[in-house]
Protein backbone atom coordinates (compact mmCIF):
# COMPACT_ATOMS: atom_id res chain seq x y z
CA UNK A 1 0.00 0.00 0.00
CA UNK A 2 1.57 3.21 -1.17
CA UNK A 3 0.90 6.19 1.01
CA UNK A 4 0.69 9.76 -0.18
CA UNK A 5 4.06 10.76 1.19
CA UNK A 6 5.89 7.84 -0.44
CA UNK A 7 4.90 9.16 -3.86
CA UNK A 8 6.35 12.50 -2.84
CA UNK A 9 9.51 10.71 -1.80
CA UNK A 10 10.33 9.40 -5.28
CA UNK A 11 9.51 12.77 -6.82
CA UNK A 12 11.72 14.37 -4.23
CA UNK A 13 14.70 12.24 -5.21
CA UNK A 14 14.30 13.30 -8.83
CA UNK A 15 14.05 17.00 -7.90
CA UNK A 16 16.99 16.63 -5.53
CA UNK A 17 19.20 15.07 -8.24
CA UNK A 18 18.14 17.68 -10.79
CA UNK A 19 18.90 20.50 -8.38
CA UNK A 20 22.35 19.06 -7.66
CA UNK A 21 23.04 18.77 -11.40
CA UNK A 22 21.90 22.37 -11.88
CA UNK A 23 24.18 23.46 -9.04
CA UNK A 24 27.17 21.77 -10.69
CA UNK A 25 26.30 23.33 -14.06
CA UNK A 26 25.96 26.77 -12.47
CA UNK A 27 29.26 26.39 -10.65
CA UNK A 28 30.98 25.40 -13.91
CA UNK A 29 29.46 28.40 -15.67
CA UNK A 30 30.62 30.65 -12.83
CA UNK A 31 34.14 29.25 -13.06
CA UNK A 32 34.18 29.79 -16.83
CA UNK A 33 33.01 33.39 -16.61
CA UNK A 34 34.87 34.66 -13.52
Amino acid sequence: MTTFIEVYNSTGWIVFSLSLMALVATAVAYKLTH
Binding site: M1, F4, I5, N9, G12, W13, M21, A22, T26, A29
Partner: protein
Protein backbone atom coordinates in the same frame (compact mmCIF):
# COMPACT_ATOMS: atom_id res chain seq x y z
CA UNK B 1 22.97 2.36 2.59
CA UNK B 2 20.96 2.63 -0.59
CA UNK B 3 20.53 6.34 0.12
CA UNK B 4 24.28 6.89 0.46
CA UNK B 5 24.91 4.83 -2.67
CA UNK B 6 22.42 6.89 -4.66
CA UNK B 7 23.89 10.17 -3.40
CA UNK B 8 27.42 9.06 -4.30
CA UNK B 9 26.61 7.62 -7.73
CA UNK B 10 24.16 10.16 -9.16
CA UNK B 11 26.78 11.74 -11.47
CA UNK B 12 27.42 8.39 -13.11
CA UNK B 13 23.69 7.90 -13.60
CA UNK B 14 23.52 11.36 -15.14
CA UNK B 15 26.49 10.66 -17.43
CA UNK B 16 24.92 7.39 -18.51
CA UNK B 17 21.65 9.13 -19.24
CA UNK B 18 23.45 11.84 -21.25
CA UNK B 19 25.38 9.16 -23.19
CA UNK B 20 22.14 7.45 -24.08
CA UNK B 21 20.61 10.75 -25.17
CA UNK B 22 23.66 11.51 -27.33
CA UNK B 23 23.49 8.05 -28.85
CA UNK B 24 19.83 8.53 -29.66
CA UNK B 25 20.52 11.94 -31.18
CA UNK B 26 18.12 13.75 -28.89
CA UNK B 27 20.81 16.25 -27.96
CA UNK B 28 21.15 17.60 -31.51
CA UNK B 29 17.43 18.13 -31.87
CA UNK B 30 17.37 19.83 -28.47
CA UNK B 31 20.32 22.04 -29.43
CA UNK B 32 18.75 23.10 -32.73
CA UNK B 33 15.44 23.96 -31.09
CA UNK B 34 17.23 25.79 -28.30
CA UNK B 35 19.31 27.85 -30.74
CA UNK B 36 16.27 28.75 -32.80
CA UNK B 37 14.38 29.81 -29.68
CA UNK B 38 17.27 31.85 -28.27
CA UNK B 39 18.35 33.51 -31.54
CA UNK B 40 15.95 36.48 -31.15
CA UNK B 41 17.45 37.28 -27.73
CA UNK B 42 20.83 38.14 -29.32
CA UNK B 43 22.91 37.39 -26.21
CA UNK B 44 26.18 38.81 -27.49
CA UNK B 45 24.92 42.31 -28.31
CA UNK B 46 22.43 42.65 -25.49
CA UNK B 47 22.79 45.92 -23.54
CA UNK B 48 24.13 45.43 -20.03
CA UNK B 49 21.02 46.71 -18.19
CA UNK B 50 18.88 44.29 -20.18
CA UNK B 51 21.30 41.46 -19.40
CA UNK B 52 21.14 42.34 -15.70
CA UNK B 53 17.36 42.31 -15.76
CA UNK B 54 17.42 38.92 -17.49
CA UNK B 55 19.67 37.55 -14.79
CA UNK B 56 17.45 38.98 -12.05
CA UNK B 57 14.41 37.43 -13.70
CA UNK B 58 16.15 34.06 -14.01
CA UNK B 59 17.29 34.13 -10.38
CA UNK B 60 13.79 35.02 -9.29
CA UNK B 61 12.37 32.13 -11.29
CA UNK B 62 14.81 29.70 -9.68
CA UNK B 63 14.00 31.06 -6.24
CA UNK B 64 10.28 30.60 -6.93
CA UNK B 65 11.02 26.96 -7.77
CA UNK B 66 12.79 26.61 -4.42
CA UNK B 67 9.73 28.03 -2.65
CA UNK B 68 7.55 25.62 -4.62
CA UNK B 69 9.79 22.79 -3.37
CA UNK B 70 9.13 23.80 0.22
CA UNK B 71 5.40 24.11 -0.49
CA UNK B 72 5.04 20.71 -2.13
CA UNK B 73 7.50 18.82 0.05
CA UNK B 74 7.00 20.28 3.51
CA UNK B 75 3.82 22.33 3.75
CA UNK B 76 1.78 20.00 1.52
CA UNK B 77 2.44 16.73 3.35
CA UNK B 78 2.17 18.42 6.74
CA UNK B 79 -1.21 19.99 5.98
CA UNK B 80 -2.27 16.74 4.36
CA UNK B 81 -1.42 14.88 7.55
CA UNK B 82 -3.26 17.45 9.66
CA UNK B 83 -6.44 17.76 7.59
CA UNK B 84 -6.29 14.51 5.56
CA UNK B 85 -7.37 16.33 2.39
CA UNK B 86 -5.75 14.09 -0.19
CA UNK B 87 -5.91 10.82 1.71
CA UNK B 88 -8.07 8.70 -0.53
CA UNK B 89 -8.34 5.86 1.98
CA UNK B 90 -9.84 6.84 5.31
CA UNK B 91 -7.99 5.43 8.24
CA UNK B 92 -4.69 5.39 6.37
CA UNK B 93 -1.85 5.21 8.91
CA UNK B 94 0.60 8.07 9.19
CA UNK B 95 3.84 7.58 7.21
CA UNK B 96 6.86 5.92 8.70
CA UNK B 97 9.20 8.32 10.39
CA UNK B 98 12.10 7.45 8.06
CA UNK B 99 10.04 8.10 4.95
CA UNK B 100 8.69 11.41 6.24
CA UNK B 101 12.13 12.49 7.44
CA UNK B 102 13.76 11.58 4.10
CA UNK B 103 11.00 13.42 2.28
CA UNK B 104 11.50 16.58 4.31
CA UNK B 105 15.28 16.34 3.98
CA UNK B 106 15.16 15.94 0.20
CA UNK B 107 12.72 18.79 -0.41
CA UNK B 108 14.30 21.20 2.05
CA UNK B 109 17.79 20.58 0.69
CA UNK B 110 16.48 20.95 -2.87
CA UNK B 111 15.06 24.31 -1.90
CA UNK B 112 18.35 25.37 -0.32
CA UNK B 113 20.35 24.22 -3.36
CA UNK B 114 18.00 26.09 -5.70
CA UNK B 115 18.36 29.23 -3.59
CA UNK B 116 22.15 28.90 -3.80
CA UNK B 117 21.86 28.53 -7.58
CA UNK B 118 19.76 31.70 -7.69
CA UNK B 119 22.44 33.55 -5.73
CA UNK B 120 25.15 32.32 -8.13
CA UNK B 121 23.01 33.41 -11.09
CA UNK B 122 22.74 36.89 -9.56
CA UNK B 123 26.54 37.07 -9.64
CA UNK B 124 26.39 36.83 -13.46
CA UNK B 125 25.18 40.43 -13.58
CA UNK B 126 27.60 42.81 -15.28
CA UNK B 127 28.81 46.23 -14.20
CA UNK B 128 27.45 48.98 -16.47
CA UNK B 129 30.10 50.73 -18.53
CA UNK B 130 30.27 54.53 -18.45
Amino acid sequence: MNTIFRILTWPFEAIGWLTIQLFLGVWWVFKAVFEILLRPFNWQKMPIPNWNEQMKLFAGAIDRVSTACLTTGVLGPTINEIFRINSVRPGEPPPHFEIAATNFYIWISSGIVLHIIARIVLSFMKEPTK
